[in-house]
Amino acid sequence: MYLAESRSTKATVVPDTRPGRRPAAVPGTVLALGTVSLITDISSEMVTAVLPLYVIAGLGLSPLGFGSLDGINNGVGALVRLAGGHLADRGGRRHKVVAGVGYGLSAVCKPLLLLAHTLPLISAVLAADRTGKGLRTAPRDAMISLATEPEHRGRAFGVHRAMDTTGALLGPLAAFAVLRATVDGYDAVFAVSGCVATLGVLVLVLFVPRHVVAPTGAVPVPEPARPTLRDALGLLRRPELRRLTACAALLGLTTVSDSFLYLLLQREESLPAQLFPLLPLGTAAVFLLLAVPLGALADRISRRRLFLAGHGALLLGYGLVLSPWRGVPAIVAVLVLHGTFYAATDGVLAAATAGVVPAQHQGAGQALVGTGQALARFACSIAFGAAWSLWGGRTALTITASALAISALVVSFVLRSADEVPS
């Protein structure tokens, strides 16, 4: 099913550049960027899927006590993302160049894994890979915003996120197919992953226009002056963006990380440990299915309202984990709510951000809101871990759920007043 989907999206990659044609429902640029993300995610998830096996079985290393192989600390990650957004805005929209550097850096990292045989080296390569991801995220979202008419941005981001998730689901299957054709063929997985990543960069270079313009932006906006760093920081003086960033961060502070949620779900449900890897798949599948319809819904009702409603779904999910309801239906219900949360918030927040940032600052604006949310979620992870140590997982989740309910009330008040501001 995923294969068929990836083929059909590939066929529609070519941007609609011929004059006189009715603008496509989803702009060609968005489909091209979605394809780049799909291909890149296949590549990166191939590596992610085999990395534990490679480290333990292939290299015979014990990763425990080493800590995480995440490779990059969250503070640095945030700075890279902000820098990526700002650099992309400078020099009159260099979004494609900055995104290309980001995708290229990650692509180069895949073959480098062939040479890294120790945990510190592998960790360094993963850090470079993540730097590439940090660099490209904001320019990519900026290009999606710029390429799409404001009233269709929710759906455009939904399409992009659905394609992205499709790649993430296909990657492990591709990696497994390579491993099956060989024995201990980790090097082959890295080589194929490198080829796939290169293909992604190439699709970006060939099919994403250098200067992204709105499809029916009949009024050609005069090329604005180069935004300076001060201009970018000045974005925070825009009350709407400030409010949105604050709301995303506030809700991020009460969003438990996926791994904690799955761990707790497994403990509460006494789920057999071998079924544990299925939990993220469940969330991803629901995200994939709902990203487009919920994005389109966000365009019809308000994006902020849907963003808030998504957190309502998350709150309901927390409630189910804490409730006495047990068994497979309960687990499925939690995963459906969790996937709905992502579908109703991830692309929708980017679309909402696009609406409150001027065109020449799209990169910096996307980076700002995204970074605020990511840092808040990271803070939540630390606090949640500490609360778990002190009072146990259930209590920690109960506290977080209460905090989420309060945050959602505050946010609904803040965003409602924001809605009254004419824009």
Partner: protein, 340 residues
Amino acid sequence: MTRTTRLVTLLVAVLLLGSVGTVAVLHAAHRSAMRDQQQANGPTVRAGTVSLRSTAGRPLLVRNLAWGPHRDEITTVPADHPQGPRTASGVKCLRFHAAAGTGICLQSVRGALQDTYRAVVLDAHLHERHHFPAAGIPTRARVSPSGHLVAWTVFVSGDSYAGTNFSTRTAIVDTRTWKMDNNLETFDVIKDGRPYHAADINIWGVTFADDTHFYATLATSRQTYLVRGDFATRTLTTVHRNVECPSLSPDGTRIAYKKRVKGASPDAPWRLYVLDLRTMTESATAERRNIDDQALWADGSTLLYALPGDYGSDLWTVPADGTGTAHRLMTSAVAPAYPR
């Protein structure tokens, strides 16, 4: 660039990249076919009968890594003649241990969409008595001295983008009742005399004292501890810091373990140490290289452990009291066990 140029460029790139990928896969497939050929200078391996209760001298069982048709099979050699011909059992395991007529074998099972793992409890003739699904990649296995209890540790990993957070799951099974403790992390932890809770607790490397008591590694907040486990009270009590992969001596007085030493390179941080449980004093062994294995006591005074070798790993020995030097016991082998 026109649309046609772009499409042609893409097509050429797909063909080129596709060829590179195909060559990489074919190369790896060819290499794996080579592994089924016996090496000219490798040990002799013959199929035969392997028993945990062999009467002809003391046996040493290992997972054979020598290339050839018996690669990865559990093989046996006489303990006093480890370089001699190996007798292969036909049973393939990633990790293995045996004691008192019970064997534990952690193996991978090919699935439709991905490989899975299972823990198989074996009888004295290496026939399956029972098997359990294992939640991740096998790393450690042990049988209690009585043969009644078996324990294993697997790695599981989160699957966030480019982030690989490893954690462990350790299970213990009573082979008299087939009751399984799926995750030792549900035991109560007493750290430095006080109850302790944390989300980041990992436990691995069980070594049994008897059918009620065991030792293991507990990690939390970037620190590892030797813990003493008690089935009766379902508790884990910290005993000592900076201990990984403990191995209890046959007389129950000493623990051989991996110690993370100061000043060592971060990719080779561990040295083989022995802790005297009566005096709580640590002493380094004469093995100065990085160790990444749960050592095995060959007898009351000798340690046996794996180090990287030409065909995966070799087995080495060193005296437990810090004297002597390390020497290689056999090549192309891992996961040793003296069933008696």
